[in-house]
């Protein structure tokens, strides 16, 4: 498919909604990979629930994106019929799950960011975006709480869980820079009060995650942030493989109904 490159306000909003939708679609799919493989039944259920929440949020944002685009694409068309280069998700979210520590630390880092972002978007001057963000913000608060509690229990747990959680944090931290990388889409929509200023989310996010990592006896690494490009459709080698699996059924049976 072709990615449109027009620059009107509606195109900006379409682009922005794709980012919101794709973040949650990709992390939701990754999280769903734990279904049936969780470390214990209750946690398997908890992660599956979180995955369903994320897919629900993705579905709402992508539906809205399709409406903004006005070319008749619904959330399914956007989820299943775009290729890797058309995806606008943060790269950190497409990385394979790794072990449970990696999964939980990533879920915590992103959910905390998502929480602050959605709370701000709930006050957007765009009524539809505000409504969807407010709905997603509620469930996201629970994701933060669940992941945060597990960060402490893994970090301050056994020697092995500490080592694994620390390795996950070391690996993941450099990817978090992308959360706050604003471009012309953020700036223009921000100027008209439609979306939040990403830079203003950094301080509250850092305060929250650093406090939690301190509780978990996990040292946040002092490392440079990675070069990224998820928002422009540049991805790691992992997204293509993930999409192949995620999209195969829809593409093998176009238009199939339950």
């Amino acid at each position: 498919m072709t990615v449109r490159r027009s620059d009107g306000p509606t195109d900006r909003l379409f682009e922005y909604l794709l980012r919101l939708g794709d973040d949650r679609l990709v992390l939701g799919h990754r999280t769903s990979e734990w279904s049936g493989h969780g470390p214990i039944l209750e946690e398997d259920i908890a992660l599956s629930n979180i995955s369903l929440d994320l897919l629900g949020h993705a579905s709402m944002f992508l539906r809205l994106a399709g409406q903004m685009e006005g070319e008749g694409r619904d959330e399914d068309a956007l989820a299943y019929w775009r290729d890797e280069r058309g995806f606008r998700n943060l790269q950190i979210l497409e990385l394979p799950n790794g072990d449970y520590g990696f999964t939980i630390v990533r879920l915590f880092l992103f959910s905390a960011f998502s929480h602050f972002l959605l709370e701000r978007l709930a006050a957007s001057s765009h009524a539809d975006l505000a409504a969807v963000a407010a709905k997603a913000a509620k469930e996201t608060r629970y994701h933060v709480r669940h992941a945060a509690e597990w960060v402490v229990r893994l970090g301050d747990g056994t020697e092995e869980s500490h080592v694994r959680a620390l390795a996950a944090l070391d690996q993941l931290w450099p990817w978090t820079g992308e959360f706050f990388q604003a471009d012309e889409v953020d700036r223009e929509l921000g100027a008209s009060g439609v979306v939040a200023d990403l830079e203003s989310l950094r301080a509250p996010w850092e305060a929250l995650v650093r406090e939690q990592f301190a509780r978990a006896t996990l040292q946040v690494p002092e490392v440079p942030m990675r070069m990224t490009g998820g928002r422009k459709g540049r991805h790691t080698e992992h997204l293509g493989h993930m999409l192949a699996e995620m999209q195969i059924v829809a593409r093998s049976h176009p238009g199939a109904k339950w």
């Binding site: 214990i40 039944l41 209750e42 946690e43 259920i45 629930n49 709480r145 669940h146 509690e149």
Partner: protein, 124 residues
Amino acid sequence: MGAGGGSRTCAEAPGQGCRLRDRRTDGPTDRQDQWPLWEVFTQPPGGGPHEHAGSVHAPDAEIALQNARDVYARRGEAVSIWVVPSESITASAPSDAGPFFDPGNDKPYRHPQFYKTPRGVKVF
């Protein structure tokens, strides 16, 4: 998690009550790699008392609460949740059933069925 909660292990001496135990994990070899069991009570929307919903495994109270929410309160079933360590519950023993519960059956005067319902009272 077990829909019916734990089964019971009872003291040898009568009248000592029973401890709820986890039939999934408390085998003859008493596995130590499972989290403790918690009984879950949920309060339905619109008031009413908390009722036993089932049980979950969890390492501590906060996780027990979250697990209970994920297992028993995802579809609007509850507005409030209690979790209680299963081992804190003392249950009557099967051998108590006779002395505890039988006497009611042959004492019909304990049931208020001899009263006539006055006219004007709605019978449900």
